[in-house]
Subunit: 293 residues, 2 copies
């Protein structure tokens, strides 16, 4: 395995997710905090205009703009498409060292705790995830497979991943989650430092992962208006089993809508604010215990 030479920490990919924004501002003010001897660490604000406007994005979701087509299309005109190309040029400059990994900082209104989202099954990422969950049992691991260049910032490189923290509303800082996220980032940096120095000792050889198998939308009428809310028994229950027949939604007039699937699934991203417009009430996943080699 090659060494890690350059690592990027990105906050404010979504402008109203303040934890990442203020962590990156802190790292830019105190760079020694993210300095490690064996690699270079960049820190970067993703969407400055959206951060100023206290909104997720200005024109389109920046974190869906990192696909090969949009990045190479000279006719891109939205602010975020242009910004995605700028970010790519910073992280992957021509004829220079590209970043080897990206830590993309997010928050969610779902009760996801401290979640590491991996876009692939790269062994180094799985070992990292196992290490982090050994250090802090609150850490959860979600595998949401995305091919390289699929649109997400983290998909710019094989070792990119997201840290997704919740539940926290858009537009606010929760000090406890801020500090937990900060410690998690230091653990990631320490992990890569040890890795570069050949010191990685597996702290865990088994890892529980939640593997994405799809999404479920809200019940909607013919014009796309939602007709129900997340059921109170499901709200805040990310990572817990949802069995066939369990209540899933409740309509505005109080009728329960039950989960109709054939097998038990593990919902994640339950009631994420930004996903109403994307047609997503929750992600669903399978829970797996995997062996880390």
């Amino acid at each position: 395995m090659n060494q890690i030479h350059r690592l990027a920490i990105v906050g404010g990919n979504h402008g109203n997710e303040l934890t990442g924004v203020y962590l990156v501002k802190k790292f830019q003010q105190y760079p020694h905090l993210i300095h490690r001897a064996s690699f270079e660490t960049l820190s970067l604000l993703g969407n400055p205009k959206a951060i100023t406007a206290r909104t997720r994005y200005i024109d389109v979701d920046l974190n869906r703009c990192f696909d090969n087509k949009k990045l190479s299309d000279a006719k891109t005109s939205s602010y975020e498409e242009l910004r995605a190309r700028e970010i790519q040029q910073i992280l992957q400059p021509q004829n220079q060292q590209n970043v080897d990994t990206i830590i993309d900082l997010h928050t969610t209104t779902a009760n996801m705790g401290l979640c590491i989202i991996l876009g692939n099954w790269h062994p180094l990422l799985l070992k990292l995830a196992a290490d982090l969950s050994a250090i802090n049992p609150l850490v959860k691991v979600y595998i949401h497979e995305q091919p390289k260049g699929s649109g997400f910032l983290r998909s710019l490189c094989n070792l990119g991943f997201a840290i997704e923290i919740g539940a926290v509303p858009q537009g606010i800082l929760n000090a406890e989650l801020f500090q937990q996220t900060e410690q998690l980032i230091y653990s990631v940096l320490d992990y890569f430092e040890d890795y570069n120095q050949g010191k990685n000792l597996p702290k865990n050889d088994l890892l529980t992962v939640y593997k994405s198998i799809g999404v479920i939308d809200y019940p909607r009428n013919e014009v796309g208006e939602i007709q129900a809310m997340i059921h109170p028994q499901l709200q805040f229950r990310d990572y817990e089993p949802l069995h066939p027949g369990d209540p899933m939604f409740i309509t505005f007039t109080g009728e329960e809508i039950l989960y109709q699937g054939n097998s038990t699934v593990y919902p994640i991203f339950i009631n994420e604010a930004a996903y109403y417009e994307k047609g997503i009430a929750m992600h669903i996943s399978e829970k797996e215990l995997i062996k880390i080699s």
Copy 2:
């Protein structure tokens, strides 16, 4: 006391506070739910453009546009200033019956539970508040004095008030809070119905109120950037006593900032997302037990 002839329920005064938006949509679909024999009930969406855009407002905060100067200024040009005049014309049509009371539906990221916000000490409002808190002990009463025509929608009439529900993030529905808000509205309607019919029996003759005495901003640097977060020991502790010397904020580098006041206060609206830009980290109040006559 005069009778209540017309009552208005307004949701979506802020476009990203979905509880009120979807309650008003429900009432418009099922008007019998808010029909009472002795008065007319209007239901109205406050800021349709902001609701569509899933944002608090388009140009300026609609709920600061109902002051006499803005409402009478023919040169108003922002979307919300124009919308405020439209709403005033609906609620207070010339030469027709004005609404006697307004229920303005809001949500907050602060942990305010089911809060009734009164803009004055009108005896009928205090009796209503005492009645509601007798029916549901979760109800809290906040008195934030505002003269008529001070900018808030509820200040259009003496008996206007807000229902402020939290904690709920902007942009999502929490089914449990949706249903509790709905029941609270029905209790208000039943109260006015009984009042019109001379049937109001005081359910409580004592009422705990939180009386606004000011606001506290985040510590900021010279360019207005916040330098600290709500302290974890204060987060979610709305209505609880804050004593001199208690931790109030924590800086990004972990230093505690203590409450420097001379007397115990009761913070409310702690860490409301929309108030970061307004220079408000929390409201502070005094707790009073008042006799309802």
